[in-house]
Symmetry: C2
Subunit: 901 residues, 2 copies
């Protein structure tokens, strides 16, 4: 279809956006679809370019074509442009190829003059309306075409209001409006030496030229520069009939959502006003009626509207948000667009549209915004604003929580038993606070970052947590928390949002998480579509159950250290660490073994038939020991005490010595991970023995166990080789003959840059690679997450030194390059190698996209992120397929062209 | 030349080692060179293989050939094999292709029997000697050929000694020896049922078979397995005439070094004994004479020996260590090999040989062992052993030092002023101890690793330091240091070796460092040969002068933080850091600016015409602040004091708060390097201003200044981009018009893995890359050097989990891969990019080899390592050239072969 330089809405469509601009193309699209759009035409962007090429002149013959096009509009509306009885009014709007909101000009009600205004008055039986339109038109024309600053018009309106003794524009009488029209005309005379044109054709030409000229206004130029829009793109001009909803009782106006934007329910939703203009609906002077009532008021219009709504949904294949006007019983659609909706509705609409056959399952999946989805999966604040905020800390674990403030883990525990809901507030938490964390609804810490003890434990438990609230002050003696001038005492209510980091005084209403049938439906589709498997990070039987419930196909990361932290076990773990003799250490390990075994056993039972990846002990040992400063305080206290304390004193001193021995200047880079397993082999031996004893019990009960032993922090193949031998040896010893029922695997976490760089070597001793992207990011960037997030990372992201926080969105350029290399080299050496990502990136969309691109087999994330990851995995699969198809088409096109040559 | 299966020494040479074995080839080589070697022949390895192929049988006809070959020996010595008057004696020795010391068998004095022994007695006029030879021969034959365990012979000797009432073998009389021969023969009879052969031909055949059989002895097999020597290589057998130095006053024996092995001086060095056997020289029963005296004793022999020495040096193109015997005035050389020598001599010999034209300069350079060289450049212990060691800590800064122990920096300072030499012993040092470090001859710390404060500062000053002496105990109250049961009090003497980490009680003699004319000579040659430039890490004008003296072509790393640590400046630096208001910080910076400027100015003047690379502030700020524990103690003390201390108290509390604010859980990965420059731009601004103000002053004095501003710890190109703009802006402001006289550069340290991974991007904003391999190794391995070296790294290296300590020898597989990638990508994007390595690897041979291989432009090392690095750079260049030539030859050969086809 050829687009003419003055192009009727009947001609062209969405695909002609380059010539017609966005608005013009959309109007043509709707017209073509047979929808009742007020007729009009578009003057193309090519005309705009010619306008500038020829020294800001409209091309010869253009206005003749415009007037010819107007005839069609006159015919359709049964009115005449400049006709005194039945005047046709038009709007003149700019419409660029790229949307530039607020940058370009618009003139409404063009066609009004001293004669036609009376015609409108008669037609609408509303003289005030007619003159208000006229007043507005002259004002708009004056500022757009003659460049008179708005303030001059405003000043006249102010004076008139003073004179009339009224406060609001709407209170001005017809007489005042008539007077204002005259004053505005005079203003134009005085300031430009030209008179406001009564000739409607001259009005139209002036308006068209003004729209073109607005393309080169300073603010438009700046906007284009900032948004990288080429200067020679040009704007189109859209001229369209005006319709009136205030032409009497058979006229009206309203807005319509084709479905409910809060719930997604498939019923028309919206409101309307009879005998009114659009601004009356928005203005709030009259109360609009629910759309359902239109069925009684104007059944025909309602029926047509229903049909249009359906037609629009079919055409745009999505829920629409429509503005409509009824003029003398005739329905006009002024605008339609894809409707905004909340997360809940988005989910239901997508699912419904797919079930209704409007879109495919794949399209439905692509329409889910995974960021929004996350809100649905945690409790959230019922309102986003209007509350005081004490501070915004680090969003350490998502979800909202509310409870009474306590400052001690013991208090938290007591109060919880007494049936209270509590929020635990600490400078920072240590393993000794664990019972307090378990008891609390949520946790606040003043120090520590996204990987602090509190943050890690809270995320593991799916419990809201805000960390690093450094701007607050905690007076531990007075039991007071002060932030932003607000003081909170023990027992006061407080609310936190672990998704945003907000700490709010008082008890706010929370909205529950929701695993709706629609979500389950969408998740099923996602599972059908995606190619990467989705597994979970789960450290306990409870987590494992939750993971399975949320659709995990296995456990990708079971951190055994969390098992060490439970209050019943910590003392034994400490005893193990403090042991100076091998024998004492072994005794403690012997007590830990059955505990670990029973953990593993329960997890294996929960994950019957699915792989379970168990990471051997990873963190530095001193993390399990009490804080040195606290020990020093205890020592001082003990020393000042009288009586028999010699034994205690010695033990305390010994403990302090041992804690000091184990302290490291950079624990992140110290004696942890497999280095621990190599220096203290008896610890790993105990863990591996516990794993295979558990395996044995499960096998005998007919459970399908697929254990995968993961060696953390390998940097050199020799480390893996040594420890792999240890695992094989113990597996052999424990399982004996029954080994054949347990095809276990041994692999490693790739989290040290060197491991990625030498992945080819390492793959020869590994059955699987799991990319520990948290640590890998820390070492590749040289960022300690704890330090960076509190100190410079926020500044970096704000000032665009980094595109994202690399702990949230995988850095594909640097860290990603390492991963890509490792996967390629690893697979080259070991074709059976499986690859996965664990760490928080496993729940992030962009990162998942990257994993799909480089062809990982699995992504692993926390149970609460599983739904998000399942959908994201489906989305990235669909995107990749689409890209591949495009590439194939390109290839075919090229081949065809080559053949043609 | 065809090698026969029984091959005379006249035939073959070095190149025939496969058939003749190492010893046989060397004997042939010497014979060919016309040297007076006792004549003999070699039975080839091929015979050995055949021996095994045919079921341990000598090939048919072999012995006939052997006897024919013997005739030549008889003729030369004018003796007869088995002749009673003038008996020819021979030795039968194994000689593999690969040396297997002590693994294979040897039989001497073969040819003795009851008759010939009397002939020898007459010839040597020494019946005891003749029977001692016979006794030894029978014993050797018994154990080698008949496999009788040595203990049986020893038992008989013991008995004989008891009977004769003597303690030593040498005291046995002729009669006893004759009796022993008879007892030995009987022993052989009894244990094997065979009698000791009086037929000398049978003796020889038995010996040859025994040597071949020893190839498959269990210990030889094990040795081959361990050393990866193929089992089918086989051994050769060497049969050679025996000569006797004890045939009277015209006979003698001795050892000769062709040059002095301690000094390298070109004079014959060695000793001899007339009328003696080799074992008399070694045995110490008689005192040998210096070789010079031989000139008087036997001028002809001496002259011949001189000629031989020269000939051997010419032939082997190296200083030789020769064993010789004179039999009746005739000189025989028994053995020659390249002589062992100490570092000093090695240097002189290499230089002299090149000057004498025996070897090329390149060969002379290749003969320098850079490890040994290092000893020459620092003071060292005059003896390596025989002293008690209190502990062996980490060798943190090389060189030996000796002084009286002090435990406080203040004491060190006082005592030094009083003219004493002191060694400072601390748990660990902080910036506040700096005056003590300056005053001390050497430093010992009980805690801290190779990158602790003490280690870094000491290395910078070229001062010996031993760190991490964790096995010692420091009783600070009692002023005692205890280690290995030895207690040292304040004022006691102690000696340390910072190269080995040894701490030794008492005052040991030290040998001074030595930049001898020979070394300077060799260094000049190295500079002619090498292709990589060698520059220095130097932080002060003193270091810069030292660097220039040691041949640096520029400064590759000037660490500005060390300038911050001087006692006069530290308080201002602390004030700057403690400032809470921008204004206060600026005030402190304003005071620091002229100080930094004058440092830079002096350094620029020292390095007139050479590039000076200045790294902006790198370490985390808290490193400049006092220790938190000490502050806490001060606080406690202050609180308990009475009187007006309110102001002080507040200030102290404020300081503690600030120190705590700046503390990081992993400072290595925290707010340091350019992150500091981005968060506190005023610090970098001051530094850059100081640099360019200094530049300006130098330019005006006609100094050629080539400043290179290095931005540390860049991980993302945006960081460099931002800071480069800052540098350019300030340079512009400060230099103005004079900018054209200063072609300054801005570059970055590549020390974060991400920087290496994204080097292509970074190179677009960088003029140079300097690889900070210390940090790059830390982050690539995920090792904190401080923690790793004290905790697991030693275990890793000992147990071969790692081939080397990667902080000493660059890990080419992992870290090296990153560097290689970065160089390739950086150059692709920026062809003008220059690349260098700084960090301690710049002084390590293997690492320098790697740098040459990947084509770095510069290596930078500490001034004291410069000579080593210059020679190493020349060596690796020569090696690379040789490899390239071999490759070209291969290519040419292949091409020729292809043409032929």
């Amino acid at each position: 279809m050829t687009i003419r330089r003055v192009n009727s809405f009947w001609n062209g469509g969405k695909e002609d956006v380059e010539l017609l601009g966005g608005k013009g193309a959309n109007l043509a699209e709707m017209t073509k679809a047979g929808l009742p759009v007020p007729l009009g035409f578009t003057i193309t962007t090519e005309v705009c370019r010619e306008f500038y090429r020829t020294g800001r002149q409209l091309p010869a013959g253009l206005m003749e074509e415009v007037f010819r096009a107007l005839v069609e509009l006159e015919r359709e509306q049964d009115r005449g442009f400049g006709n005194a009885e039945h005047p046709l009014l038009v709007s003149v709007r700019s419409g660029g190829v790229t949307s530039m909101p607020g940058m370009m000009d618009t003139i409404l009600n063009l066609g009004l003059n001293d004669e036609t205004v009376e015609g409108v008055a008669k037609l609408t039986d509303n003289r005030r309306f007619a003159y208000d339109c006229y007043r507005r038109f002259v004002q708009m024309y004056g500022s757009v075409v003659y460049n008179i600053e708005g303030v001059h018009f405003e000043r006249l309106i102010q004076k008139e209001k003073q004179f009339a003794g009224c406060m609001e524009d709407q209170q001005l009488s017809v007489e005042s409006l008539i007077s204002l029209v005259e004053q505005f005309k005079k203003l134009i005379d005085v300031r430009t030496g030209r008179s406001f044109p009564q000739d409607v054709k001259r009005q139209l030409q002036g308006a068209i030229e003004a729209v073109f000229l607005s393309w080169s206004s300073p603010r438009a130029k700046v906007y284009r520069k900032v948004h990288h829009i080429p200067d020679d793109q040009g704007t189109a001009v859209n001229v369209q009939s005006m319709v009136f909803g205030n032409m009497g009782e058979r006229s009206g106006t309203g807005v319509l959502f084709t479905r409910n934007p809060s719930t997604g329910e498939h019923v028309m939703f919206g409101e309307f006003l009879m005998n009114a203009q659009g601004e009356d609906v928005v203005g709030g002077t009259r109360t609009p009626c629910p759309i359902a009532e239109l069925q009684e008021t104007m059944p025909d219009a309602y029926k047509e509207l229903s049909i249009c709504a359906r037609q629009l949904e079919l055409h745009y294949r999505d829920m629409q948000d429509i503005e409509f006007t009824i003029e003398n019983g005739k329905l006009y659609l002024l605008q339609t667009r894809n409707a905004k909706r909340n997360a809940r509705a988005a989910l239901k609409v997508a699912a419904d549209l797919a079930r209704e056959g409007l879109i495919s399952k794949e399209e439905a999946l692509m329409r889910i915004d995974v960021q929004h989805l996350n809100h649905l999966l945690h409790r959230s604040l019922n309102t986003d604003s209007g509350h005081a905020v004490m501070t915004t800390g680090l969003p350490a674990s998502p979800g909202a929580a509310c409870g009474q403030v306590v400052f001690e883990a013991d208090t938290a525990d007591e109060w919880k038993r007494a049936g209270k809901e509590v929020i635990l507030v600490r400078m920072e938490t240590t393993p000794e606070d664990i019972h307090g964390v378990i008891a609390a609804e949520g946790i606040i810490t003043l120090r520590g970052g996204m990987t602090s003890h509190a943050a890690v434990v809270a995320r593991g438990m799916g419990k809201p947590c805000v960390c690093g609230c450094e701007s607050m002050r905690l007076d531990e003696e007075q039991h007071q928390l002060i932030g932003n001038g607000i003081m909170i005492r023990e027992g006061d209510w407080i609310t936190i949002d672990g998704g945003s980091g907000q700490v709010i005084p008082g008890q706010l209403e929370l909205r529950e998480a929701d695993l709706s049938p629609e979500l389950i439906n969408i998740l099923d589709w996602a599972d059908e579509v995606r190619s990467m498997k989705v597994i979970a990070n789960a450290d306990s039987p409870v987590d494992a159950r939750k993971a399975r419930e949320f659709g995990a196909e296995g456990i990708g990361l079971c951190r055994t250290e969390h098992m060490f932290l439970s209050p019943a076990r910590l003392p034994i773990v400490q005893q193990m660490i403090m042991a100076e003799k091998e024998m004492d250490r072994q005794a403690a390990l012997n007590r830990l073994l059955p505990m670990q075994r029973s953990d593993f056993e329960e997890i294996f039972r929960e994950m019957d038939g699915c792989p379970v990846t168990i990471r051997l002990l990873d963190p530095p040992l001193h993390e399990f020991l009490p804080n040195i400063e606290e020990l020093a305080e205890q020592l001082t206290a003990l020393r000042s005490k009288e009586g028999e304390t010699g034994g205690e004193l010695l033990e305390l001193e010994r403990m302090i010595r041992r804690v000091r021995d184990l302290q490291e200047s950079n624990p992140m880079l110290g004696q942890r991970g497999c280095r621990l397993g190599i220096m203290f082999p008896e610890i790993y031996e105990m863990q591996v023995e516990a794993i295979f004893q558990a395996v044995l019990r499960c096998i005998r009960d007919g459970i399908a166990v697929l254990p995968q032993v993961m060696i953390p922090l390998v940097g050199h193949v020799n480390e893996l080789h040594l420890l792999r031998n240890l695992v094989d040896l113990i597996a052999e010893q424990v399982l004996g003959e029954e080994r054949r029922y347990c095809p276990y695997k041994v692999g490693t976490m790739i989290e040290v840059p060197r491991a990625a760089l030498t992945a080819g070597e390492i793959a020869r001793s590994a059955d699987f690679f799991s990319f520990g992207t948290n640590d890998l990011t820390q070492m590749t960037f040289g960022y300690s997450r704890d330090d960076a997030e509190g100190k410079f990372l926020a500044h970096y992201v704000e000032n665009k030194l980094l595109p994202h926080n690399p702990f949230q969105v995988l850095d594909t350029e640097g860290v990603g390059k390492l991963i890509e290399m490792a996967v390629a080299q690893g697979r080259a050496r070991n074709p059976l190698l499986t690859t996965s990502i664990c760490g928080e990136h496993g729940g992030d969309y962009e990162s998942i996209m990257f994993c799909q691109r480089i062809g990982l087999d699995y992504i692993s994330c926390s149970p609460y992120r599983l739904p998000v990851s399942r959908i994201a995995a489906a989305q990235v699969h669909i995107r990749m397929q689409a890209e591949l198809m495009l590439q194939e088409e390109d290839i075919q096109t090229n081949e065809a062209e080559e053949k043609a040559v």
